[in-house]
């Protein structure tokens, strides 16, 4: 990076956007290679036994699987740029429809768990960092480690046995069938649609279904926030400007809140971006645990069907989403902290 290119925000953004292109290309190539070197014929793996040899051959021809690999590769790359993510082999529908029908569920789950993680994680991390080595610090750090160490499906299992069962909370799906049936689909995201409908019982039903999955996934990431905020508070409270503020007679608590905390937050924004990747992985497991009709659940179903088309399409979309979010986070970071641009 040359000195003239640094400093100005538009230039930084442009540079960062240009970097995204090779990144996406590498990931797409990787996905393509990994799924194509897998042994066996994808079409008979997905549909074998359900169609006769002639129909299988027709399907293969239609999907372009008889063409040379390099053609298939080119077709794949160019169709991704046209935002066409292919079709599934087993039930022969556009991957985009799968995304539309199931993406909303994943989105509402991940956003809700982010809220849980931030609300629980940041205050706990601040307390632990502020009172280093106190009993509170030990307990909070232990909680942080445990929440990271416990697999999602184990927390889900415990919540189902010890919370959902005694309280009679639902443990499967996004809503009761009656709610799904009555709410008008406007955005295809049930959580939004139900609020648009204004039906109080339906809203309650959806939130009741959301509670345990969001808590489960939220606890996973909140551990990361606790550690991060704690370490950053530790490091910033050792900084000179904090000492200077203290020397001016400002109380310890005020220094932590007003001076240290703001600077400790910058890495948190970066990590929110990185956590998004962890969150997607966690979402797959949470959806599986709570039978949540999201993309992750769909992905696992397609994998068990050995449906290459669907797996390739869904993974591609995840990859593009992750790269774009990290781009967004970097830009936000550059806006907040001018040092990042250099």
């Amino acid at each position: 990076m040359t000195r003239s290119a640094s400093g100005s925000l538009p230039q930084y953004v442009l540079q960062r956007v240009l970097l995204v292109i090779p990144m996406i290309w590498v990931i797409l190539t990787l996905v393509f290679v990994v799924l194509r070197v897998a042994p066996g014929d994808p079409v008979s793996a997905a549909l074998g036994g359900r169609l006769n040899a002639e129909a299988l051959e027709q399907r293969r021809e239609a999907l372009g699987l008889n063409e040379p690999l390099i053609h298939q590769y080119w077709d794949y790359l160019s169709s991704v740029f046209r935002l066409d993510f292919g079709t599934t082999f087993s039930d022969n529908q556009p991957v985009l429809h799968v995304i539309r029908d199931n993406g909303g569920a994943t989105l509402s789950l991940t956003l809700a768990s982010f809220v849980v993680a931030l609300v629980v994680g940041i205050p706990l991390g601040m307390v632990a960092g502020r009172y280093r080595d106190s009993v509170g610090d030990v307990v909070i750090r232990l909680f942080g480690i445990l929440s990271y160490a416990a697999p999602i499906f184990f927390i889900g299992f415990l919540l189902q046995v010890y919370v959902a069962q005694p309280l009679g909370l639902p443990t499967s799906g996004m809503a009761s069938p009656i709610t799904v049936f009555t709410v008008q689909p406007v955005t295809h995201i049930l959580l939004i649609d139900v609020f648009l409908s204004g039906d109080a019982t339906a809203i309650g039903d959806v939130l009741e279904h959301l509670l345990l999955p969001a808590l489960t996934l939220g606890l996973l990431i909140c551990g990361v926030f606790i550690r991060l905020v704690r370490v950053n508070i530790l490091q910033t409270t050792q900084a000179d400007y904090v000492e200077a503020a203290e020397a001016r007679g400002i109380s310890r608590g005020r220094v932590t809140r007003k001076h240290a905390f703001r600077n400790a937050l910058v890495p948190v924004i970066t990590v929110i971006g990185l956590q998004f990747a962890l969150l997607l992985g966690g979402a797959v497991l949470t959806e599986s645990t709570f039978n949540w009709p999201g993309l992750g659940q769909k992905l696992v179903e397609y994998i068990n069907d050995r449906d290459y088309g669907a797996v390739q399409g869904i993974i591609t979309i995840f990859a593009v989403a992750v790269v774009l979010i990290s781009l967004l986070v970097d830009i936000v970071n550059a806006l907040v902290d001018p040092r990042v641009r250099y």
Partner: protein
């Protein structure tokens, strides 16, 4: 021998208070699981896929009892035995994958960072792309491929874990190499005529692998979770080939509604304990090795008696 012992004891003697306790507890927990893994055939009361003894079937989903301390599951398997055998599977997979990571990642990073040029740039790009991708999803994709090639074996899962952790080793070693190769001692080595191979092996290697132990321990913790996650989704090791905690939890989930808690609780606790142990070791090592966090033990300083002042006072 004494040198090795001293090196091993260094993280303990260097730390104080909480950090030291965390390290000790972590080592104890991890060691306990390694003992379980090594001595599983002697420690476990039954085999991991054994559903009867002397021709009598175990109870189906029987509650914990004197015969079966942790109860039995729906497939008539003894839960305690599966938890102990599960330790063996987990440790096997983790050791294999960390071994592959170190054997491939460290030399790759060293050579790539040392020679630079376009191969280095391409490798960095590929590794960054892998690193940016959600690791669990990548593990799913790789195990999709590898279980197709090798079946649901320990090797297939270990290789999928290797694929997702390698970029970290590559990055760490490469970046330290890039900065270390400009150091004066490397220049001096080159001046006395050392070849590139010798410089990398004798001069750089020892300096760039310093952060690998911390990375390996933290990765080991993560690997246990990824392994269990794959098993939970049914993409890992099959339950008749080996005992695997994640897969057992998946089967236990179906019983959660019926109030059968023992089939899920114990494998889950095993995962939590082992991951916690490894994380504590990793964090403890990090606190001793990372200078920004380190708090060294203060050695008591004995001041000489202040004779002169007492004489003046007199």
């Amino acid at each position: 021998m004494r040198g090795v012992l001293k090196l091993l004891a260094k993280p303990f003697t260097d730390t104080v208070g909480l950090a030291r306790w965390m390290l000790v507890i972590g080592v104890v927990i991890t060691a306990a699981f390694i003992v379980c893994a090594v001595f599983a055939p002697w420690l476990a009361p039954y085999g991991f896929a054994q559903s009867a003894v002397d021709g009598t079937r175990f109870p189906k989903a029987g509650a914990p009892s004197g015969e079966h301390w942790f109860g039995t599951d729906r497939l008539f398997f003894d839960v305690l035995s599966r938890v102990i055998w599960g330790a063996r599977t987990a440790i096997e997979v983790v050791i294999l994958s960390i071994l592959f990571c170190v054997v491939i990642g460290v030399p790759l990073g060293l050579v790539s960072g040392y020679f630079g040029g376009w191969p280095d740039r391409i490798l960095v790009l590929v590794m960054d792309a892998i690193f940016a991708f959600p690791s669990f999803l990548l593990a799913i994709v790789f195990s999709f491929l590898l279980t197709g090639l090798f079946g649901g074996s320990v090797l297939a899962v270990a290789l999928s874990l290797t694929a997702i952790y390698i970029p970290q080793y590559f990055r760490v070693v490469r970046n330290t190499t890039v900065s270390a190769k400009e150091a004066t001692y490397v220049e001096a080595a080159r001046a006395i005529g050392a070849s590139d191979g010798v410089i990398m092996r004798r001069y750089l290697f020892g300096n760039v692998v310093q952060s690998v132990p911390v990375l390996a321990t933290l990765n080991a913790a993560d690997a246990i979770l990824t392994l269990a996650g794959l098993g939970f989704l049914g993409l890992g090791i099959q339950s008749t080939d080996a005992a695997e905690w994640g897969h057992d939890l998946n089967r236990a989930l179906a019983d959660a509604g019926a109030g059968i808690w023992w089939t899920g609780l114990y494998p889950g606790l095993a995962i939590v304990l082992l991951v916690t142990g490894l994380t504590l070791v990793g964090e403890g090592l990090n606190e001793t090795l990372n200078p920004t966090l380190r708090r060294r033990r203060l050695l008591p300083v004995v001041m000489p008696a202040r004779e002169s002042t007492t004489e003046e006072a007199r």
